[in-house]
Amino acid sequence: MRIVRIALASIVLLAVTASAATVRVSGPKAAQVMHERHEGMEAIGKAFKVLHREFDAGSPSVPTVRASAARITALGKRSSGWFPAGTGPDVAKTGAKLEIWQNPQDFAAKLSAFQKAALVFNAAAAGGDMNAAKARYADLGGTCKACHDKYRTEMHH
């Protein structure tokens, strides 16, 4: 059942993501999206740092892992709305590269891979087997890197 739920959620996410890049925003709306994107990505990063410390310590705290997994999954879902056209580096200072909107399909696939990996990790964390969760967390990290290597500039903040 869980697999079916994940699959269904993934299809919905993919559909939302695919449509995201075609919407165009401007003005205060664009600024708002970019702000939310920045804060959201930072929060995901923070949750990942917490997880890194937990999994690196011999016995991770299950509630901490679950809370961070849930947070990443929730933010991951919202991330579909973070990259409308009109929120690139041509509009304002951002770590998001122009290539995102030049390769919308590839970008959507990478974002979707991240969202799926977050769901799978969240399920593993909920399951309570921390070894399994650690492996899924590593997979999830791979999806972050795959996208950031290609679509994020080095940021200085």
């Binding site: 990063g45 949750a47 990942f48 740092k49 410390r53 890197k145 950031h148």
Partner: protein, 231 residues
């Protein structure tokens, strides 16, 4: 007692003053060129999404710094801190042209210390830093909080500019001396240079002392990579 060299003994005096004599031992030269290569590699790897290679490169630099620190106490005369690190009076005398030695000049010694300290600080920041995404961490990141780790990364990035500045100064000095007829690069490769008359030749360090320094520096680095566990 200096050996008496009879006037007109051409072969002997040429050997002493005319031909190239050792000025830099092999460990000093290896440390120098490996540092140059690893700093370049560290810069390249982190800008090309190879953060893992970057961290290993930093650990190698740590090994070199520890080695060089130790070699500065037991190495050849030109490698020793106690010999080349001089006071302001020596620097002033050198600037007035009253210095006749081999190895680091009193002024150059300041550059050596600046580069060494800047690199040590840079490695220190890197050891406790973590990347923006929480994917990679320096081996000692557990000793500090997430916030400190993030700050260390920012400082690690900023401090590289200081290192770049010192490298530019270093190369500019080499060009400056070259324009005045003094070639510094070749001796750093071959280890030999023609000495000015009256300069003290280099006293070589012991090869086994170098091996002990190397073993110690690798041992300490391994302990750091393990997260500096209690001994």
């Amino acid at each position: 007692m200096p050996r008496q060299v009879p006037d007109g003994d051409a072969p002997l005096s040429r050997r002493r003053w005319g031909s190239a004599q050792p000025v830099w031992d092999l460990p000093v030269r290896l440390v120098h060129w490996l540092l140059a290569a690893l700093i370049t590699f560290s810069w390249w790897s982190v800008h090309n999404h190879h953060t893992d290679w970057h961290i290993w490169s930093g650990c190698a630099i740590l090994t070199l710094l520890i080695f060089r620190l130790l070699w500065g106490f037991v190495g050849s005369s030109t490698a020793r801190w106690s010999i080349f690190v001089r006071g302001p009076a020596s620097v002033a005398a050198y600037l007035r042209g009253r210095w006749n030695g081999i190895g680091h000049t009193p002024l150059g010694a300041l550059s050596v210390i600046a580069i060494f300290l800047a690199l040590a600080l840079q490695v220190g920041f890197g050891l406790i830093a973590e990347d923006e995404d929480g994917l990679y961490t320096g081996p000692l990141y557990r000793l500090v909080s997430i916030d400190t780790s993030d700050k260390a990364r920012d400082l690690h990035e900023l401090w590289f500019n200081v290192i770049l500045g010192l490298i530019v100064l270093h190369i500019a000095a080499i060009i400056f001396y070259r324009l005045r007829g003094m070639k510094l690069t070749k001796p750093m490769i071959t280890g030999r240079a023609v000495l000015t008359p009256g300069a003290q030749p280099m006293r070589s360090g012991k090869w086994w002392a170098a091996l002990i320094c190397l073993a110690l520096s690798i041992g300490i680095t391994r302990w750091v990579i393990a997260g500096a566990p209690p001994l």
